[in-house]
């Protein structure tokens, strides 16, 4: 009897821990690293952005089907020359501290974002914001820029209350005030963040009342936390090793979306053996992409031939790369002056999504007499050596985009103005015709013209074998079955406001 009572007490004691988010209308999600700051203008980290999307709003919002719709503005217009934008500010929007958002707040926020070095990915094209009248804000651009709305969706251009931010710019990162659907309630440094629904949210209070972000570094324990009900949503392993376990679990759902990046073999086209175009072409003709995908990511990717991330609307459909041809590749190697083959080094970031494909490529290139050594290194060291100093022969890397537009995956990597540390043209590409196409495509507002230019860009990338696009993977999300409104997003952006039980 005593034993039984003891057992009963034990059970009663522990039961509440097993309740999932559904019971108390909360949603817990996993992050792989801790939140650095809540200041939207002082971070470049995706993990930080994901929380900012819950606390702040920007001028625009992304709908689940990927369209950009006005959020903190109600209407906007772009001048015919594409250099000026006018925004009508939404009225009656309240910040978490109860203040009403004004045009001054919007001007201040945009100008703070423009001045910050952290946000340049989205704001480098913006010149300044100014107030036209009480409800209109003007944004001036340095040159016409088609993907500008995508930049204004980003959390890096979030709107903050001027008064609060100005009073303590350094403290804002710990005590954020936004207009977003959730207010920051509690931070357990490096462990969890708790947010509560903002009752005065301009679109109406969120259905999910509490939002918790947990930092769990270990993939296994994150998955088990999902299965035990502590966690409601997570991004699974990048190498898709836990995919089957999630699909097989009746309580979990596995969501997939295309990845906003292309994995590719990139050459140093300015120095070293691959400055010779024939050798680059030989590599391009020696890569069996299907085999590569199978070996590197368990087949969980789509082969790509175009030099632009396929997700971009400008990516040419049905574009064909150079044909796989071992004999021709061998001949090209010999023609380039290496009849007995040669030894090169591939420098890659020491993570499985780069080292695994590197190993497959190593085997494939052996077929044409190229003995490729793999040098895997720390991420920081790779960026220093390869991206900043261009000290490499060949590498395997992913060109990622933050806005679904071809400009993001071409201009910074290929334009000659981005050479020598000014940007990320680490491959040393300097082709006047390419520059011309990129400039035209960047400043044109006409979709047809841009598509034409980007097709030419893809052709040059292929014909010169500047880099070899290999595949694009999948963005995945796992969530508990009863949680509604979840989907995988290529940019890994999500709004808990869309979620409900």
């Amino acid at each position: 009897m005593r034993k039984f009572v003891f057992a009963l007490m034990l059970v009663l004691l522990f039961v509440p821990a097993a309740l999932a988010g559904k019971a108390d209308n909360s949603v817990s999600v996993r992050n792989v690293s801790d939140q650095k700051t809540f200041d939207p203008y002082r971070t470049t980290d995706l993990v930080d952005w994901q929380t900012h999307y819950q606390i702040f709003d920007s001028l625009f919002w992304e709908t689940p089907d990927g369209k950009f719709v006005p959020a903190l503005c109600t209407d906007y217009s772009i001048s015919p020359d594409g250099l000026e934008m006018l925004f009508t500010i939404r009225e009656g929007v309240k910040f978490h501290n109860g203040d009403v958002m004004t045009a001054d707040d919007v001007v201040f926020s945009l100008n703070t974002a423009i001045a910050s070095p952290f946000t340049s990915k989205f704001t480098s094209v913006m010149k300044e914001a100014s107030k036209v009248d009480g409800k209109t804000v003007k944004l001036t651009l340095k040159h016409p820029y088609k993907p500008i709305i995508g930049c204004l969706v980003s959390s890096s251009t979030s709107i903050v209350p001027k008064k609060v931010y100005e009073a303590d710019p350094d403290g804002f990162g710990q005590k954020p005030v936004g207009t977003g659907p959730y207010m920051l309630k509690d931070v357990r440094s490096g462990e969890s963040i708790t947010m509560e629904a903002f009752p005065d949210y301009f679109k109406g209070e969120a259905k999910v009342k509490t939002h918790i972000v947990r930092v769990i570094k270990d993939n296994m324990s994150a998955l088990m936390a999902m299965q035990s009900g502590t966690l409601d949503r997570m991004v699974p392993n990048q190498d898709y090793s836990d995919r089957q376990a999630i699909i097989d679990d009746p309580n979990l759902v596995y969501y997939e979306a295309p990845q906003a990046c292309s994995f590719l073999v990139a050459f140093n086209t300015a120095r070293g053996p691959f400055a010779d175009k024939r050798l680059r072409e030989a590599v391009a003709r020696a890569i069996d992409k299907e085999e590569l995908i199978l070996g590197a990511v368990n087949g969980m990717a789509e082969p790509t031939d175009e030099g632009i991330v396929p997700l971009c609307p400008q990516a040419p459909k049905g574009f064909k790369g150079l044909e796989y041809d071992i004999e021709k590749a061998k001949a090209l190697v010999a023609e380039a002056g290496y009849p007995k083959g040669l030894t090169v080094t591939m420098r890659v970031i020491g993570a499985t999504n780069y080292t695994k494909p590197a190993e497959i490529l190593q085997a494939q290139l052996r077929n044409i007499g190229i003995d490729m050594k793999i040098e895997a290194m720390d991420r920081a060291r790779w960026f220093d050596l390869v991206l900043n100093k261009a000290q490499f022969d060949v590498t395997f890397y992913a060109h990622a985009i933050s806005v679904a537009d071809a400009d993001f995956c071409t201009y910074p990597f290929l334009h000659s103005s981005q050479l020598n540390g000014k940007g990320t043209n680490y491959m040393g590409v300097n082709i006047p015709e390419l520059d011309e196409c990129l400039d035209k495509a960047r400043s044109s507002l006409d979709d047809a013209e841009r598509n034409k230019e980007y097709l030419r860009v893809c052709e040059i990338i292929r014909d010169e074998s500047l880099y070899i696009p290999c595949y694009t993977g999948k963005r995945t999300v796992a969530a508990v079955k009863d949680l509604k409104g979840v989907f995988a997003d290529p940019m890994q952006r999500y709004y808990i406001y869309n979620y409900s039980w």
Binding site: L10, V11, F14, V15, A17, A18, S33, D34, K36, T37, D39, R42, T44, D45, P117, F118, S120, K121, D170, G173, Q174, R188, S189, G190, E191, S192, R214, V215, I216, K217, D218, M220, S221, A222, M224, A225, Q227, S228, G229, T230, L231, D378, R379, A380, R381, F383, D384, L385, L387, N388, P412, G421, K422, G423, T424
Partner: protein, 302 residues
């Protein structure tokens, strides 16, 4: 302790200097233009010569300012204050479990040498030393959280969250303690004075706990002290598995983020704590070891 801290800070500073990667670049992200990185470097004072920066750090530290984290912009001391309680709790409970279970099992094993209890405890000790703590942790999550739903899988909000991490941490320490207690006890039991005690008719309990244990405990106390100070330095893997943020994760995050102020402060703090624990152990000796006690007394008399 002062030279240790000074030397350590210098070594850490040099390591962070010599390892590749730029803090400004780490903050601004991979695609930031070099000009902006340069600008931030200037702002952060990273372009000053090495010794100037080191001296600035020491000077500020002497005035109680241990710097602000590059990554989070939060004072390093505040961050350590936030993270240390979790580490302290895990370490404390782990050592507590190890001591409470390890020492008695060790004593029983020694007293009943070669019995079934002895053999089974030795085998399980071997097993526990060999099991990697993270694996034990994962197995426990699988059993207690996923299957039985009686313990929370991750986090550190309540005392329940600490049960599994503490046990996972304790397992190896406990096994060490069992083996150590057993071997030192066996050594002591064979001593002449134990035979004398038994011969003069002292009760078995008195022989074990007063005559043997007191003498056998000395190396055990040292071992407990060492493992406690090790655990206080943070347990990265266990913290990762159980989603707890302690000193271990903080240090690794600082290394990968090139966050020198945070790393130096947290390592210095761990060193300081380790130093104090060792001091505590030394002081404890005076209570349990009459030889040490008499040494102090003699010196005092001179």
């Amino acid at each position: 302790m002062v030279p240790v801290i000074l030397g350590l800070s210098f070594i850490l500073f040099s390591i962070m200097e010599l390892t590749p990667g730029d803090p400004a670049r780490a903050m601004l992200g991979e695609y930031a233009p070099q000009e902006e990185v340069e600008q931030l470097r200037e702002q952060m004072g990273l372009n000053d010569p090495f010794f100037v920066r080191y001296w600035r750090y020491v000077w500020n530290a002497l005035h109680g300012d241990f710097g602000v984290s590059y990554r989070t912009n939060i004072p390093t001391v505040t961050e350590i204050k936030n993270r240390f309680p979790a580490t302290l709790k895990i370490a404390f409970f782990a050592v507590l479990i190890a001591v409470i279970l390890g020492i008695p099992v060790g004593i029983i094993s020694a007293v009943k040498q070669y019995s079934a209890i002895d053999i089974s405890s030795m085998v399980s000790a071997l097993l526990f030393t060999s099991i990697p703590p993270f694996w034990l942790g994962l197995l426990m999550i699988l059993l207690f959280s996923v299957k039985l739903h009686i313990l929370p899988a991750v986090g550190s909000e309540t005392w329940k969250h600490f049960i599994m991490p503490a046990i996972a941490m304790a397992a190896a320490q406990m096994a060490t303690l069992v083996r150590m207690t057993r071997s030192t006890m066996l050594e002591v039991i064979r001593q002449d004075y134990i035979r004398t005690a038994k011969a003069k008719g002292a009760a078995p309990a008195r022989v074990i706990f007063i005559h043997s244990l007191q003498n056998a405990l000395l190396p055990v106390v040292t071992a407990v002290g060492i493992s406690f100070s090790n655990l206080l330095g943070g347990a990265l893997i266990i913290e990762n598995v159980f989603g707890i943020s302690g000193l271990g994760t903080l240090m690794v995050e600082s290394v990968t983020g090139k966050d020198s102020p945070m790393l130096i402060s947290s390592v210095l703090f761990a060193a300081l704590v380790g130093g104090f624990v060792n001091l505590g152990v030394d002081l404890l000796y005076t209570f349990i070891d009459p030889r040490v006690k008499s040494q102090y007394l003699k010196r005092g008399a001179k």
